[in-house]
Symmetry: C2
Subunit: 256 residues, 2 copies
């Protein structure tokens, strides 16, 4: 992804303006009752903040009037910058921790949209405007083509260098273990302690329940989870939570 530049901003405004002018549905939905002068761009920025802070609660798809805004956010460089700054805060925090010699200082990572980017998939599936299609997504996932996020790769490598034990905890199924490992290595990630995937007993559980249970097992083994990085609040909340949680941005989907 490139950095934000003036031409992308200009084209975003042109696209937004055209969308409002040519589409009466978008036009009428773009302004709230309370504040008739609030623009689509401003409302979509507020929606994205509400989602990132978990104020919006559960949502299914990106609101139709905000798809262009999400697309521009991702392709215009702000998404990448937001991501990098989270990684920088996480590295700064990790550097301040005094690690023991027992290898029990742990950091948990989610995988999809945290270590691996499925943006190439979502780009051809409406940037989160289409409801999640499990079959289609799995077709993509088993190709093992997802790339890393620069920020997460930098954080991952910094943590390895500092001596943290890395635990990967994903909502992917156990039957995707080998392709997931291969994809992670191809993207530049090495030396994790374990990769936890959804087994038979985890089917049907919410992400927050399944992930809390798995972290709890890790804690019972004597690990201290100093940090946890995920793109969903369900990666970070529940029980057996980390000392510090780092929410990387994801404006495209929500998992309860």
């Amino acid at each position: 992804m490139c950095s934000r530049n003036s031409s992308s901003i200009t084209s975003f405004f042109i696209v937004s303006l055209l969308a409002v002018l040519v589409n009466p549905t978008i036009s009428s939905r773009a302004f709230t009752k309370e504040h008739p002068r609030v623009s689509v761009a401003s409302n979509c920025e507020s929606w994205r903040l509400a989602s990132e802070t978990n104020n919006a609660g559960s949502w299914n798809v990106v609101p139709s009037r905000c798809v262009n805004s999400v697309k521009n956010y991702i392709n215009g460089g702000q998404f990448e910058n937001d991501y990098n700054i989270v990684a920088r805060y996480a590295i700064a925090y990790a550097k301040r921790i005094n690690l023991g010699r027992d290898g029990k200082d742990a950091w948990v990572f989610d995988i999809d949209e945290t270590l691996l980017s499925n943006l190439d998939y979502y780009k051809v599936h409406g940037y989160g405007s289409e409801p999640y299609d499990n079959a289609k997504f799995n077709e993509w996932a088993v190709q093992g083509k997802a790339s890393s996020f620069d920020g997460s790769l930098r954080l991952y490598k910094a943590l390895k260098k500092l001596g943290f034990t890395i635990i990967l905890l994903t909502g992917r199924d156990e039957n995707q273990r080998s392709i997931t490992e291969k994809n992670l290595r191809n993207a530049g990630y090495f030396g994790w302690n374990r990769l936890i995937l959804r087994g038979k007993n985890d089917q049907g559980k919410t992400a927050i329940q399944y992930k809390s249970e798995q972290r709890s097992k890790v804690v019972k083994e004597g690990y201290k989870i100093h940090g946890n990085t995920g793109d969903q609040w369900s990666d970070l909340q529940g029980f057996a939570v980390a000392t510090r949680s780092f929410k990387v941005p994801n404006p495209m989907y929500y998992i309860a």
Copy 2:
């Protein structure tokens, strides 16, 4: 606060540009090592998101290069819009709750920067760029001149109408009880169940500890805390947390 308009955006960009051109300190700090082309505006947007999502952790003052960005965010209308959308999500959630007849369905509100806006104070104190001055702030607070936020007043009134028991929980000291009550009424708030202020036993406690303890007492009385609204994560986290927490934006200060 007025809605965002093109003249305020233009003047923001001019101010930002001038700041970069005339101040070598700001200029050098404005670009990160990793991404030399990332603008001040983009970095400050990322900082604000990192703060709102609690990724930034504890911070003392608004970074000097972001003061103009914060000022523009607040005066340009985006702050107000972000605030209103949080209130709208909270109202939508509250309306879906089936209330009992025992009056035990509660909603907790913080006061400063949640129900009452001290923006008139912060406007003359650098929009969060000056370290917190307890004596000066109290001089302002005892005047009882703080105004309401439109979004919070709307949420408060909606909750009262729905039949929620309103509990106010503030970090202000017990000796400010009467001026705080007067200020709240002048700002349009009526009919709270109780106002909890820091007593003698609460001195020296972190906000997260003090507020968790007070919520815990409320829960022990048989109340169910359905919602909690605050501008700080320390209003919302800890123990005895609400079913849903609503973090209203505050780019000016952080309380642990």
